[in-house]
Amino acid sequence: MIARFLRDEGVEYIYGYPGGAALHIYDALFRQDDIKHILVRHEQAATHMADGYARASGKPGVVLVTSGPGATNAVTGIATAYMDSIPMVVLCGQVASHLIGEDAFQETDIVGVTRPIVKHSFSIRHPSDIPTVLKKAFYIASSGRPGPVVIDIPKDMTAPTERYEYVYPRKVKLRSYNPVSRGHTGQIRKAVELMMSARRPVIFAGGGVITGRASEALTALAHRLNIPVITSLMGLGAFPQNDPQSLGWPGMHGSYESNMAMHHSDLVLGVGVRFDDRVTNNVNRFCPDARIVHIDVDPSSISKTVHADVPIVGAADHVLNEMLNQIGQRTEAQEPLDEWWETINAWRDERRGKLYEPAAAGEPLKPQQVVEAVHRATHGDAYVVTDVGQHQMFAAQYYRFNQPNRWISSSGLGTMGYGLPAAMGIKLSYPDEHVVLFTGEGSFQMMMQELSTCKQFGIPVKIVNLNNASLGMVRQWQDLNYKSRHAHSYMESLPDFEKLIGAYGFKAITVNTADELEPALEEAFRSKDELVFLDIHVDPREHVYPMQVPQGAMCDMLLSKTERT
């Protein structure tokens, strides 16, 4: 029944790992050809694969694991998806109903364990409930503010003694769950009035614009009113970065101009963002002169950290289009923004050409210049996946995104190990595109067993290892806050990556100096059908800048090792 449902729901891939409690389901998968199952090497990887696929496609990723350790191994991936509002359905085997509660072999209360990190969860109580419960799970996972849904399936539910008729439920209704879509017209009018009269407005767009497929409406609105656009990290690509109105992303390591502009603005139009602490810095000093308009499908996101003067609950797409509509009908002119743009352009000029110093030919590379070179090699339209650390921030800063769904990174939870499996999930579904993973030698070693999965299923991702032989981000904090006492941030005994990758039958290229980079990239990106691992030794002393000063306002930043605002 589960296999038939997944087929009817249009699921193409499911990522998983078998075990006792899931064997009936595996047997059903064996006896069909519609759904392809990808066997990972660790259940956490299955959840990240599903997550990567979901971020790139906008559709829920599906995971299948067994009870007990299978399910607990999936927890990190579920939490990662939850923090970034990613649609995912996780099917967990469970011990047979009559054993539940007896500490049976491989029994874990996975519904209990995952309760704080799921949008919702179900336990199957009767085999005939399977189709409706699954339909509800897919509906909940992918509608409103998306998120992971866990389904606990006791083993006896998948081997019923009686036969039940299967009907695919086309629609389900839940009396207690009706995500809003239309925003309140009166609230939208208030927002539009503020936007027309603001002298220093900014748009702050987040992941909600990408999930809500509202990039076009956002771009149209921004162009219509000539308002500068800042996107959150989750929102990278929601507004094209090659557009002159784009100021990049704000926050802890955000661009100088975006942090300055947001701090000095008199109106912030937040769309599908959650004003988290990595953006606002000290909330008490956040945007002192600004009124806040906040559009979100999830009412609980509004006024959670930052008070919204005009809250609008609704889907980004609808609300932005309604704004455009109302603006079209107005007769009075908008406040001119020339002065505001002059100020912003002056901020841009201040930092132009001063972001980092590229290495000369024989020197070890700077990570920033590697990202820029990869951008050129892939014409800026690859799917870019990252792990977590300095390399993640460099990738976000220097790979410029012009389309939504191309920047794939664990933002909210910051899960090291996320990258490789997420990249694999994307490459499987988008075989004709370049999928590039920026990783660090620390993060990569958390999930490198998945090279074996790449080998089995032929998943040719490109891996750029920004190897600084250290847990760079930790080291940076130790440099800044602990007088450079590098407690356990140094990676001794790194493997010989060429040999390691070679052991799986893949190609690895080591790059030691700047002059070796271009030829290596050329070789790596020549074809889209070959997994290539670039082990690029970069300057380990490099820090990520700008960096907001702890407890300061958004505009309080370190700009380099020697400059601060």
Partner: protein, 163 residues
């Protein structure tokens, strides 16, 4: 401020733990909690009393509403409402204290529902203040055990919490 939040909850396994878990996960406090079936067998009614400023209460109600199992919710303290709690107290009742307990119970319009030579069990209903006042009055006489149901409540007038 103290708030009384009442909700209709899907009568599903795990629903209660989601509500309770939310409070601990988000660092919201629960003072009392009361859950019981309703006239509709698919729904239970859950009432919590909690403390917090406006921002916190707004967050609590929004997060509760976000739970799929919460069908409908009302903050009773936003309007006129009736608040009731039931308490059973075992009080020492020997010698002169025996009369004193009886007298105090009468003043509070409480009932003695069980009697032994040395103990009275008193039942009292009312709002939380009344419970507290009664307890204070009988504490010097020797309170042996207290069982409170937690607050339940309902809006005054025509307003109803139903589907």
């Amino acid at each position: 401020m103290r708030h009384i939040i009442s909700m209709l909850l899907e009568n599903e396994p795990g629903a209660l733990s989601r509500v309770v878990g939310l409070f601990s996960q988000r660092n919201f406090n629960i003072e009392t909690l009361n859950v019981a079936p309703t006239d509709d067998p698919t729904l239970s009614r859950l009432t919590v009393t909690t403390h917090g400023d406006e921002r916190i209460i707004e967050q609590i109600t929004k997060h509760l509403n976000r739970l799929i199992d919460v069908v409908k919710l009302v903050d009773l303290t936003e309007g006129a409402h009736i608040e009731r709690e039931l308490m059973l107290v075992k009080v020492k009742a020997q010698g002169s204290a025996r009369d004193e307990v009886k007298r105090t119970a009468d003043i509070f319009r409480a009932q003695i529902v069980d009697v032994t030579p040395s103990v009275y069990t008193v039942q009292i209903t009312g709002d939380a203040n009344k419970m507290d006042a009664f307890l204070q009055a009988v504490t010097p006489l020797g309170v042996l055990e207290v069982a409170r149901t937690g607050v339940s409540g309902i809006a005054r007038g025509d307003k109803v919490l139903s589907l």
